[in-house]
Every structure is written in C-alpha cells, then in structure tokens.
C-alpha cells in the first residue's frame, strides 16, 4: 500500500512540475517576447533575435517556427504570441481580427529552379521541366510556394507533370538534394540555405511572382518591445540578415 501512495505522490509531483514549467514563462527579472514566425525565417530570425536580446537587456525572445498556416490556426485558437511573421499575405489575413494595426511587409521571396548538384540533366529553363521523363517535384497548389509555382507556370505557359506535390517547400528541397528528384521549384532562400547540396537555375519570369512576408503585432500584446522587434526586422540590420539568407527587400 505504501508503494502505491509513493507512486501516486511521485506521479502527481511529476504532473504538477510538468504543467508548472509551461506556465512559468515570465523570467524573474525580465520579459519574454513571443514571436511566431514562418519556418522559412528560422535562420534569419534566430540571428535577429540575438541582436535584439543584445540590444534589449532583460528581454528574452522566444521564437516559434512553423508553417504560416499552422501559426495562423494557433493564433486563432488563442495562442498568445506577441508578434507574428507570416510567409505570405493570405495567412496574415486569416488572423486579421487578432492583429493590432496594419501588417508591414518586411521581405520578399521569389522562386527558383533547383537541380541535383552539377545539374546533370542540363536544365536551363522552366520549359525544360516540362519533359515528362524528368522527375520534377513542386509544392502543392494548396500551400504558398505551390500557389506561386502555379502562377509562374501559368504566366510562362509551361505545363508540368510533377512526380510529387509536396506540402512543404523543404520537402521539395529534400527530394532534390537527396537525388530522388531531378529538379524542383523552391524559394531562392531555400536554395541559398541548401548551399552546395543543389544547383540553382534561374526560372524565367520568376521576378514577376513575388511572395511577400508581412509582420504584425497581435492585439493585447502591444508593447514597446514588440514594436522594437518589428522595427529591428524592418530596419537596416534586420534587412541585412534577411538579405544574406536570400530574401529581397520589399
């Protein structure tokens, strides 16, 4: 019997300590700024958060990266972010009721063709991807990079027969860099991040299909710190970091 009591006490203690962890988000001496950001911003925002923390002693930036639509769903479900940075405008529109003021466009992204390292299939243009013998992987039209892909191929009058339509641009990249696919269409930033794992081939007309990244403060989270973070992202320093990762300035 004593064993049971001990076990229950231990379980209760464990449960309490686990739940306690999640609710103690405030630092003793400072503040936590919660930022929900599109997965494609991971690298840039980690650097920007470091700069921010160095400039604002006592403020901890807690970054959460996920697909923009996941983050939008979380915000509509009551997740208490202070700042939301989306990879496209439709997902920012989904949370229109939860944001304070107008979102600011802070970066843009365009599509590019990626191939296996060294481009063994000698792909030089978007039209080359229409070859049905090639295994071409693109994003599904339901996700932002897929919408952009469809716009681009429509504009260029190219019909692709994709081997697979992925739900995430990173999955497209993974299938090309692992050699499963001959080529794929990803964002310039993904290609930049992949380095030597892929070869980048410019896609004709890609400049005309621009994906815009908005950032906004959430209602109830209006604070100097949140505004300072947005200012950093949109300012010179933030833009330099984003530029290094392949983003263009709006």
């Amino acid at each position: 019997m004593r064993h049971h009591r001990t076990a229950i006490a231990a379980l209760t203690a464990l449960t309490l300590s686990l739940t306690a962890c999640s609710s103690s988000d405030e630092d003793e001496d400072g503040q936590t700024l919660r930022v929900g950001a599109a997965a494609s911003l991971t690298n840039s925002f980690e650097q920007i958060a470091e700069i921010f923390e160095a400039e604002n002693r006592g403020v901890t930036v807690e970054l959460q990266f996920a697909g923009s639509s996941d983050l939008a769903a979380q915000i509509n479900g009551g997740a208490d972010f202070d700042v939301f940075a989306s990879a496209n405008e439709p997902n920012m529109d989904k949370v229109a009721d939860s944001i304070a003021g107008e979102p600011t466009i802070f970066a843009t992204n365009t599509l590019t063709i990626v191939t296996e390292p060294g481009n063994p299939e000698d792909i030089t243009s978007l039209a080359d991807l229409a070859d049905p013998d090639l295994a071409v992987v693109i994003c599904a039209p339901q996700v932002p990079c897929g919408t952009a892909t469809q716009t681009l191929t429509d504009q260029q009058d190219v019909t692709l027969t994709p081997a697979s339509e992925e739900s995430q641009v990173t999955d497209v990249l993974a299938k090309v860099s692992s050699g499963e696919a001959d080529a794929g269409l990803v964002y310039v930033t993904d290609a930049t991040g992949a380095g030597d794992d892929v070869t980048t081939v410019p896609a004709d007309g890609a400049d005309a299909v621009v994906n815009r990244y908005p950032i906004a403060m959430l209602t109830g989270a209006e604070s100097e710190e949140a505004q300072a973070f947005i200012d950093l992202v949109t300012g010179t320093q933030g833009q330099r970091v984003l530029g290094d990762d392949g983003f263009q300035s709006p």
């Binding site: 295994a135 339901q142 081997a163 697979s164 339509e165 692992s178 499963e180």
Partner: protein, 260 residues
C-alpha cells in the same frame, strides 16, 4: 478477483484523454458539408488509394510476417533475440526516420535502389513506394500479434501431432495455424489499420501525388492548409474506419486470450 477500486480514477482519466479529443474532432464536423467534401475527386482518390495500398500491405505482411513470427516463437537459433528486437524497431521509430531509411535503401541513390534504377526499375514516387513504407511500419504489428498467439498456445498439440507421425508442414498447417487463427486475424487487421494511418514514412519516401501516392493521411495534411473543414471530414472517415477495424479485432480476440 476485483482490482482495487481506486484504479477507476486514473483509468477514467486515461479514457478521457483519448475519447475527448476524438469527440472534439467529431464536434467540428459540419454534417451538411460532409457529403460534398467526402465525394470530391481528390478525397475519393485518396480513400481508394489508402484502401488499396493498405490491403496490399496486409497481404505482404501476412506472407512475410507469418513465417517470421513462427520462427521467432518456435525456433531456437543464435541471434534470435537480437532479430526479434530489430523487427520491432519500426514500432518505436519516428515515421520520418522510417521514411529516410527507406529513401537511403530504395531511393534512386539508395543501397538497393541504385541497382534497381540501373535495371530500369524506379520505386521513387510510385504506389510501390507507398506499400513499402506501409509494410515497414505495419509488419511488426502482425509479427507481434502472431508470435504472442503461438507462444501462448504451448506446444502440447503439436507434440501430440508429432507422435502421431505428422510432418512439420502438416503440423503447421493442420494444428498450429488453425489454433492461432484469431491471433493471425487480429495481426492482419492491426497491420491493415496501421497501414491506413501511415503518414510520415510515406511523405518522406513516396511523395504526394494525387491518385498515385497521396493517401488519406497525406490528403488530410494537405487539405488542412486551405480547407480545414475538408480535412476534418476526411479525418472523421479515418477515425471511423480505425474504430471499426480495431473494434473488430478486440471483439474477436478477447475471449480466446482469456482461455490461454
């Protein structure tokens, strides 16, 4: 013997933890929209592909997993426990790890895939890849169920058959297999259900193309991006299928297990 009464509290919590989220999902379903969402070409393609691939997976699990389970339960050979552990590894692996493992084996640059590719056989992005992914994760369910059933059976009947002069093959087909039929059946159904729910390995290894590799779980994942209602409607189909399937297994197997 009656278990201690206080077990009811944590047991009830356990049930709630499973049932309430499913109820939450069901509550989200809008009945009026259900039919058009479920009969869209993409949904129908995904459902049919899922049923087809899960059926193929079950047959493969049955053909390959049955001998393995029998050898694990009855054989005595070196490395048996190591092999047993290995076979069960997919149960605990994150599905995406399974997908990567398959990719580096059967993919175009993979261990075996590169030779298949040279021979003109490409598994990438094909329905075959889906079945491979599902088999990888579902096989342990059949092996585990059947091995447990065979072990639980004891050797008495087989020994009697042997003294009567039955050959090993005859003992297997006339004595052992008929006796473990419920275990075999539940193993098949669990493998089928697991195949139906497979997501990570398929996405990583097979990709997602409508009618070819985009199974029901992948379609749900994709629909959620633009049409959460459609995703919920499809999810409901999966929940109902899984409940019916798992329910059938337990209705069949609970009694024979008690006897053993």
């Amino acid at each position: 013997m009656r278990p201690p009464r206080w077990l009811w509290a944590p047991a009830a919590a356990a049930v709630l933890l499973v049932v309430v989220p499913i109820a939450g999902l069901v509550a989200q379903v809008q009945p009026a929209q259900l039919w058009p969402l479920l009969t869209s070409p993409a949904s129908v393609d995904a459902l049919l592909l899922s049923l087809r691939t899960a059926a193929a997976t079950t047959v493969i699990c049955l053909l390959l997993g049955t001998p393995l389970a029998l050898l694990l339960a009855r054989g005595r050979w070196p490395g048996q426990s190591v092999l047993r552990a290995l076979v069960l590894v997919p149960l605990v692996l994150p599905p995406v790890v399974g997908g990567l493992a398959l990719l580096y084996t059967f993919g175009r640059r993979g261990l075996i895939g590169q030779h298949l590719e040279a021979a003109g056989i490409s598994i990438s992005f094909s329905t075959t890849a889906v079945v491979l992914a599902q088999t990888f994760v579902a096989m342990p369910f059949l092996v585990l169920s059947l091995e447990g059933a065979v072990r639980g059976l004891g050797q008495r009947h087989e020994e009697v058959a042997a003294t009567l002069g039955a050959s090993p093959w005859r003992r297997l087909t006339r004595v052992t297999l008929p006796l473990v039929a419920p275990g075999l059946m539940s193993g098949c159904v669990l493998a089928f259900a697991r195949a139906l729910g497979e997501f990570g390995a398929t996405l990583t290894f097979a990709g997602s193309a409508q009618g070819r590799t985009r199974t029901l779980p992948l379609e749900i994942y994709l629909q959620r991006e633009t049409d959460p209602d459609a995703a919920v409607a499809l999810a409901l189909v999966l929940v109902v299928l899984a409940t019916v399937i798992v329910g059938t297994v337990y209705a069949r197997t609970i009694r024979p297990e008690r006897v053993a």
